[in-house]
């Protein structure tokens, strides 16, 4: 009996049709049969897996044919403006005002309610859902609110159990591309080591590996608001096609340490003690679109392409390490600084290195997953 019941309940759950009671009943059944756990997990993943972003090209072509047909059948389509007289806008104006006032009152009430709530429960947030990728692999996740997240290699995304109910907050370590569904009432918040990002509905890429020198935010469309951890009062607004680069605190601290260690005149200075609050350097650049296919290098990893434009060998080596799950050591200062351009798609690490050798001559040794590069 429990088998049949289980499948009815389980299919209702994945299809978001189950009531609370049914979910409770299902969880009880799963607890009684721990051997089902893995199949349940896999089937759930399978259900929520979207094969690939729907290609709208075909639909857009079909739309052109559709408009043609409308024309042939002489269905009035383009002349709709005549039906709505110009003065109608003025006519509705007072309603706009009424709506605006109502909106402000509502917003005020909501804020008040939330402030009250915030004071009452100061309990720490428990992050239960965690998605992570190993070096060499990528993942695509749909969050409960419908937002899509592509997670690049060696990255981690955590979010609370009640994601989407009260708030939309995630914590990111590593690199991810977000396509956030619009919901002005619940802004989408992303926390990384060095910056916080607040969005309403938009698509953008965040590269925030803690071990990297800098955190990069590339905005494809929409608007986002970025605050930097050490400067909570400064808000940076990004417009589409802009990229914000923030130097990571960790990287700065490491640099400081090195400087301190190098200076022999003041050997007793405390390494971890910073006198003034650290102010990370930041810059806003324009994203460069490829003239050929108008893509942006920053987001190409989603399409399984490792694209690098004018990157130093050191920077590229870090990306290759994550991409191929290898470690790379460069034993030559001039090579470290060499600038490289290219795209890898289906190449193996060996093919990739051979290709790089053409633009910058070097030799390498490979022992298992460890690669040493020298002149």
């Amino acid at each position: 009996m429990s088998q049949e019941k289980f499948w009815v309940l389980f299919s209702k759950k994945v299809a978001a049709e189950a009531s609370n009671d049914e979910i409770f009943e299902l969880e009880k059944l799963i607890q009684e049969h721990p051997e089902w756990q893995l199949a349940v997990q896999n089937l759930g993943d399978l259900w929520h897996h979207q094969p690939q972003p729907v290609d709208s090209l075909e639909a857009e072509d079909a739309y052109i044919l559709h408009l043609n047909r409308i024309n042939e059948l002489k269905i009035p389509f383009g002349d709709y403006k005549n039906e709505t007289p110009v003065y109608s806008l003025r006519h509705y104006k007072k309603w706009y005002w009424a709506a605006a006032v109502l909106l402000i009152v509502c917003a005020g009430l909501i804020t008040l309610l939330q402030l009250n709530k915030g004071e009452k429960n100061n309990t720490p947030v428990s992050y239960v859902n965690e998605v992570s990728t190993r070096p060499g692999s990528k993942s695509k996740i749909q969050l409960p609110d419908g937002s899509m997240v592509w997670l690049n290699a060696g990255s981690k995304l955590t979010y609370t159990k009640d994601f989407g109910k009260k708030n939309r907050e995630v914590v990111l370590t590593g690199e991810a591309f977000f396509d956030v569904t619009k919901n002005p009432e619940k802004p989408f918040l992303i926390q990384t080591n060095s910056i916080n990002i607040k969005v309403l509905g938009t698509a953008f890429n965040v590269k925030a590996y803690p071990e990297d020198k800098q955190t990069e935010t590339s905005l494809i469309r929409g608007n986002i608001e970025v605050t930097i951890k050490n400067r909570p009062n400064d808000k940076i607004f990004l417009s589409p096609s802009e990229k914000l680069v923030v130097e990571n605190i960790v990287a700065i601290e490491n640099n400081k340490k090195i400087k301190v260690q190098n200076s022999t005149s003041r050997p007793t200075i405390k390494e971890n003690f910073s006198i003034a609050p650290l102010v990370p350097k930041l810059s806003i650049n324009k994203l460069k679109y490829s003239p050929v296919d108008s893509t942006v290098a920053e987001t190409q990893w989603i399409n399984n392409r490792l694209v690098f434009r004018d990157e130093s060998f050191t920077e590229l080596a870090i990306r290759l390490e994550r991409w191929y799950d290898v470690t790379i050591e460069i034993n030559d200062a001039a090579l470290e600084e060499a600038r490289l351009n290219g795209i890898f798609q289906s190449e193996t690490i060996v093919q990739a290195l051979e290709a790089l050798k053409i633009s910058v001559p070097f030799s390498y040794d490979q022992k298992g997953n460890n690669i040493t590069i020298y002149r």
Binding site: D45, Q52, Y63, I75
Partner: protein
């Protein structure tokens, strides 16, 4: 994933402002699924394409009434079904009028095993299992998983009881689960090893 809200928003824009941008957006959003659904009944790509166009011509012509639609996704599918059956009647073609005979193809059986952490072997079994589902079961599975319809909407569209939808979905998932569970018992220790 309830897309009815998105569709309602677009319909409202079309209805109130005769918004052509929203009209196009709605067309692009629904074109592929409606075409696939129409194709499963008509078995002709050209006719399916024309049928989607017909639906959207109706939408434009009746745009003043669009805001009263409770469940827009169901409205589109019901219109598609009715127009398709009308066509079959007109042409006196000998094709099945009831869901048992509709030939629906699932799109999401082109999974990417890398992202799902499943072996290619298991994926192959899953594809086979989906292909082997009885036609009506496969149709229900597709409408719910890929097209985003709710149980209730599918029941109304196919003129079946909600209990039948529940049972058919249970059958579909049980069959998929079966091809995994067998594998899990055999391959369990290997699952932990990262794939390259």
């Amino acid at each position: 994933m309830d897309q009815n809200d998105d569709i309602k928003r677009l319909l409202a824009a079309i209805s109130i402002n005769a918004d052509q941008v929203a009209y196009k957006e709605l067309f692009v959003l629904l074109h592929s699924r409606l075409k696939q659904f129409a194709y499963s009944i008509l078995r002709s790509k050209e006719e399916a394409e024309e049928l989607v166009s017909d639906i959207f011509i109706r939408i434009w012509e009746k745009r003043s009434q669009l805001t009263s639609i409770e469940s827009p996704l169901l409205y589109f599918y019901t219109t598609a079904k009715n127009l398709a059956i009308n066509r079959l009647n007109k042409q006196k073609r000998q094709l099945p009028h009831s869901p048992e005979g509709w030939q629906v193809q699932l799109q999401s059986i082109h999974f990417d095993p890398e992202q799902l952490l499943l072996t290619e072997e298991i994926m192959q079994k899953i594809r086979q299992a989906i292909n082997d589902l009885p036609p009506r079961c496969r149709l229900i599975f597709k409408l719910i998983k890929e097209d985003g319809l709710k149980y209730k909407e599918v029941a109304e569209l196919l003129e079946l009881s909600a209990k039948t939808i529940e049972a058919q979905m249970a059958i579909a998932l049980r069959r998929l689960g079966k091809c995994m569970q067998l594998e899990i018992n055999q391959l369990n220790p290997k699952m932990a090893i990262p794939k390259k």
